[in-house]
Symmetry: C2
Subunit: 710 residues, 2 copies
């Protein structure tokens, strides 16, 4: 994994060369020059490069970057595609630290462009000059007033603020910038286009320690390098900077087909979401949601234990807000007696002073009273945040209400979250915007933001930032142990033998090749009741072809079951190579059937999946996932996340199942896969979880080993 460079002098260069500077105002070089000189507060030196000019707009212009007599932090490359590589090589030779390449016509344009990008990357790797782009609109350091971009909108969408934004495509980045019209600024926008070298993860990593950035937001279409993304997000978590991500690819259009059972119900989008959740990355579905949450997180960190107050002058709206708070599993605060006494004294008799508070319209005609009552509610010791929805515009009256909220927010730390529900902005909406309240467009949006804000506080308070995902420690942990088995997918009994080595209990069993051996095995294994199953590397669904017989309870039955299985499989699935029949101990009920699997995600590395088997996993996709390695705490957390954990805990009078043994099995399997990088995928389905104290048993399993690993 490439280390992260210090990007300070990319974000705020002490000296810049603009290669392809132009005096034509509509050209890329001309617009960039105008943005840098006319619409920026340029702190460092600016050198212009253009071989055809000696001066541009009265500034001296040199023929090449090598002619510049200065150490250069940044070269901005605004030349035609065919001249880009040469310009970059020259910059690298000169010792330039960073280059921004605006030019299009590379990776996105086909094979030749991809090849040129490989050469760019080689220049970066060989010389240490970091490249930003190509095919990008540039870099907007709004907090520093520095527009290293050719966009004509640079001077329009500028509001300093706490959001740091890293995008790939540029379009929706500007949508986030325009949230300035709701009162929140984006202080830094990095949009590195084709990401030939620097990528979203680099910017997240930089923003994690940037003083002017409080919340990191990103809009992703794909994650180029999983480990670097993990590292950057962990860096942000260690520095208490929340990361909000919008990732496209949630529907079938973006979900890869996958072969094995667990992978089939997972797919890339589900793995992404699981990894985001694990890393505390707040996943959002749209830009307005991103802005609502960023604005709230920019005010400060939640503890995760916040209880809410609803304050409103419309009874119906207060009820709606309380209803949504309940639906989101958030908690309404119980007001203290002094709070209730004060509200009783402040508000009319027909007001609802208990949470949710309906002041009635009285506060509309007496704004000072509105301020005082809101203050009373906000100061209640149990209240962690206040939701204040304004249902409609009522001219100066709602303006006064908005002003009161802004005034109080200036005096207290607890967030007052406003929802402006009307399509009429009136004077109140601009007053809230002006006051930095970033009103949500609906109660639903406001409650969602509160929910994510509180959840993130809870996550932050419990997340162990010292834990390192497998992909970040892989090289250190690769063991010298022998390969466990031949490559390819293993038959059930071979897989079980491997699991035994991993410390996962399996049933006593034997593979037999004739009816007499079946009877002998039954007797020798001393099992009360046996299951018998066909052994064949080419038959996946054994029971579909008559290849399974259950409940065999004598040696004689074992013999006839052998014949029955061979007959059935031969007639129902002719042409398969049959390697015998497995005679295996059958467990007594009750036990819960759990699916446990580990597969290697191409982006994030090995991921463990657990869920109750049967219809829970098939129809309801009730699974939980974690990156490897698992320890006991993480294994227990992932079990607790499934809805089926209620069943494991002993449901409606049923006995509790052996969750401790399940935890142990998860940790064993994780350790085993970490020690054996040749294991491509393993799935135990089902793992029988017996009642408390009786452990687990792997009843069926498949395992595949990487080709060439042997």
């Amino acid at each position: 994994m490439n280390a992260f460079s210090d990007l300070s002098h990319l974000m705020l260069p002490r000296s810049i060369a603009l290669i392809g500077a132009s005096e034509r105002p509509q050209s890329v070089g001309g617009r960039t020059l105008e943005n840098l000189t006319r619409y920026s507060r340029l702190a460092g030196k600016l050198h212009l490069v253009n071989p055809t000019k000696s001066a541009i707009n009265g500034m001296p212009c040199l023929p090449s970057v090598s002619a510049i007599d200065d150490d250069l932090d940044l070269a901005i490359v605004a030349v035609k595609a065919e001249s880009v590589l040469e310009a970059l090589q020259e910059c690298a030779n000169k010792g330039v630290k960073f280059s921004i390449v605006f030019t299009s016509g590379f990776g996105e344009a086909g094979h030749d462009g991809k090849f040129a990008e490989e050469r760019m990357l080689r220049i970066a790797q060989e010389t240490g000059m970091r490249i930003y782009g190509p095919n990008c609109p540039g870099l907007n350091n709004i907090n520093a007033g520095l527009g290293m971009t050719f966009s004509p909108a640079w001077q329009l969408d500028q509001m300093p603020g706490p959001i740091g934004l890293a995008t790939q495509g540029g379009g929706m980045g500007r949508t986030v910038l325009q949230a300035m019209a709701r009162g929140i600024g984006t202080g830094l926008w990095c949009s590195a286009g084709n990401e030939v070298d620097l990528e979203v993860s680099d910017f997240i990593h930089y923003m994690a320690t940037a003083d002017d950035i409080k919340v990191i937001a990103t809009n992703l279409e794909g994650i180029r390098n999983g480990p670097r993304f993990l590292e950057a997000c962990q860096h942000a978590a260690r520095n208490g900077k929340p990361v909000i991500a919008m990732k496209i690819g949630k529907s079938e259009y973006g979900v890869k087909a996958a072969q094995s059972h667990t992978a089939a119900i997972s797919g890339t989008a589900e793995i992404n979401s699981a990894v985001f959740r694990e890393l505390g990355v707040i996943e959002v579905d749209d830009v307005d949601e991103l802005v609502d949450i960023a604005a709230l997180l920019a005010r400060g960190q939640a503890t995760g234990r916040e209880k809410l107050a609803v304050f409103c002058y419309s009874g119906g709206t207060a009820a709606l807000a309380a209803d949504k708070i309940g639906s989101a599993n958030l908690t309404l605060a119980t007001f203290s007696d002094p709070t209730l006494d004060r509200l009783r004294a402040q508000l009319p008799e027909y007001a609802s002073i208990d949470n949710p508070v309906d002041t009635t319209g009285i506060v509309l005609t007496n704004p000072e009273l509105g301020y005082e009552a809101l203050k009373t509610v906000s100061m209640d010791p149990e209240v962690g945040a206040v939701l204040y929805p304004i249902p409609f515009d009522y001219g100066d009256i709602t303006n006064q209400a908005a002003q009161s909220a802004v005034r109080l927010q200036g005096e207290i730390d607890k967030p007052i979250v406003m929802a402006w529900m009307s399509d009429k902005p009136g004077q109140g909406f601009p007053a809230l915007v002006e006051g930095g309240m970033v009103p949500a467009r609906s109660v639903t949006n406001a409650v969602n933001a509160l929910c994510r804000y509180i959840d993130h506080g809870d996550w932050q308070s419990s997340y162990d930032t010292n834990w390192r995902p497998y992909e970040l420690t892989r090289e250190a942990s690769a063991s010298a142990e022998r390969i466990v088995a031949a490559h390819g997918t293993h038959r059930e009994h071979e897989a079980k033998a491997i699991l035994t080595a991993a410390g996962i209990p399996v049933p006593r069993s034997a593979v037999v090749s004739d009816r007499d051996a079946a009877a002998r095995a039954f007797t020798r294994l001393e099992i009360g009741k046996a299951a018998m199953k066909i052994v064949s590397a080419t038959i996946t669904h054994k029971s579909d072809v008559g290849g399974v017989r259950l409940g065999i309870d004598s040696a004689a039955q074992a013999s006839s079951a052998f014949d029955a299985i061979m007959d059935a499989v031969t007639s129902q699935a002719p042409g398969n190579v049959l390697d015998g029949v497995l005679v295996e101990e059958m467990l007594d009920a009750p036990f819960a059937e759990v699916v446990v699997g580990i597969h290697r995600d191409p982006v994030f590395g090995p991921v463990c999946t657990v869920g109750l088997g049967g219809i829970a996993i098939e129809l309801f996709k009730d699974v939980s996932r974690r990156l490897l390695p698992l320890d006991e705490t993480r294994a227990r957390q992932m079990i607790a996340e499934t809805r089926c954990s209620k069943l494991l805990a002993g449901f409606r009078g049923k006995p509790p199942f052996d969750v401790d043994a399940l935890v142990k099995a998860l940790v064993c399997l994780s350790d085993f896969v970490v020690q054996h990088p040749e294991i491509e995928e393993v799935e135990i389905n089902p793992l029988a979880v017996r009642v408390e104290g009786q452990g687990v048993v792997a009843l069926d399993a498949v395992l595949s080993v990487k080709q060439g690993a042997n």
Copy 2:
């Protein structure tokens, strides 16, 4: 059930008396007079009533309504609470058809107010004068320019339009009115406050045939009369008018505790939602969602088979839109070859011409090209609607794009659904508003509206508007049959005997009272394997107290099981009256365990619930519900709605189960409950659904009969 009156002359009265008219502009009577005379197009005659004046603002004023020499359609009552009843009685005596009562201080103020409301209702019932209110802001007939309201905002929030709105509390009604700022008007707003007589259902019923109303919207806090609501919604469905409802009470704050198993996981909110779905009422969660959907439905009726096109000039935004369309289970159209050829000719080589279409920024500099390409997409034969998100404001450029969309929408019938994603309105947002496009605030909102629009078209095309819910036919269907059993909750074997009468198969069984009888019963019933269960009216969870033994396969085992059960129950649950032990045939696997229940919802009458048993119903609440009566089609639909229906159909190589027999059992149970109104609740849990052709068997059941019904 009260019949529905013709409300035409309430909505547009030919003659009005304003009782409590005043010349003080801040009084209720004064503001109403101003609204009627200065801010309304008053078509009918207006008579002023005030015993202390002979003229107000130059208009004659009479001392009482009886002095008016005219037939009165409407009296508006704007007097103090203590004078309201007298005024209403006088109006009724005079033969006034409708009264609107603004005055507060009735039901919402306590016991005396409730009593006064009962007297109001009696006046209405005895004289036929219909009452609107009290405690309400009045009635806004915006399409007729008539404000029968004292609200000072009447003259501000007026935009004629296709939405008819019926609310209880007034607050969020005004929020809907203010959607005028997004380009859609509310033509009629009825807000009848305490609903002493006329209620939301009356207004829905009226709007169903009102020519100026295309979409009916309602914001409900509670449904006063279930049957009238059902009737009004069916009336709307028969007239092709969609009803959109926002109902508060989805979280635990609104969900009633309920005793039996099915009811416990249902609760009022879930029943409401199920009934809404069944009636085609589109349930929404917030006002912005209500407006988005209303605006789309106002453009016309979907077929339910619409496929979509995405048109955008930002690749990332186009991908987001396609992603959301996939997540919503909607379908992207496959463009025809002529469409693709035309787009290829119109757009640059680097554009994406396949659906989703990314035109690239070219259309921003060439708006005519944008118009032409949008037209090409819209005219594709497979495209039913176009989603066109505008990600950010770009000044006149995005204005031109907006104008193009408005222009094309003026020429074609297929809806072009716009999302304006930026917080900056620029010129483009107002252009869309002006053009009546009602832009959604996000792609998510736009896709949600499209989804509900298409779903509603699908519902409308398959709903049988001739079907009548039980509550609307109850009196006609009440049978003369004998009561089936004593009141109270019945023990398992009694419940099963009743089910047999209903046509639901139950296992062969006998109740025995000693160990020998158990053995004899086992032999006599000729059953291979028996289940034995304690019989006691006071023990609900039999297996929790050792009261169940399974898999008994000999007469001798039956005897010892009898002893074991009696011992266990006596020691584990002492003090219960034990009535013996049930010896019952045990079914061979495989069968699916289904829960079937019917309970009487206090608002909507009997509701049937079906779902797969076990964890599916307990943890995942995977159930479907329908109002009685069921026929085969409706029973089959409700099974198909559960996610578990996949399992019933034969899942992953399992045999298909006997869904036909399950359908038949649902219809039998429905018929039985319809014929026996004394049945309060019945739950079969589980109903074993055997493999195809083998039928169903009720393995356990509880049934309760109304007290006093015997």
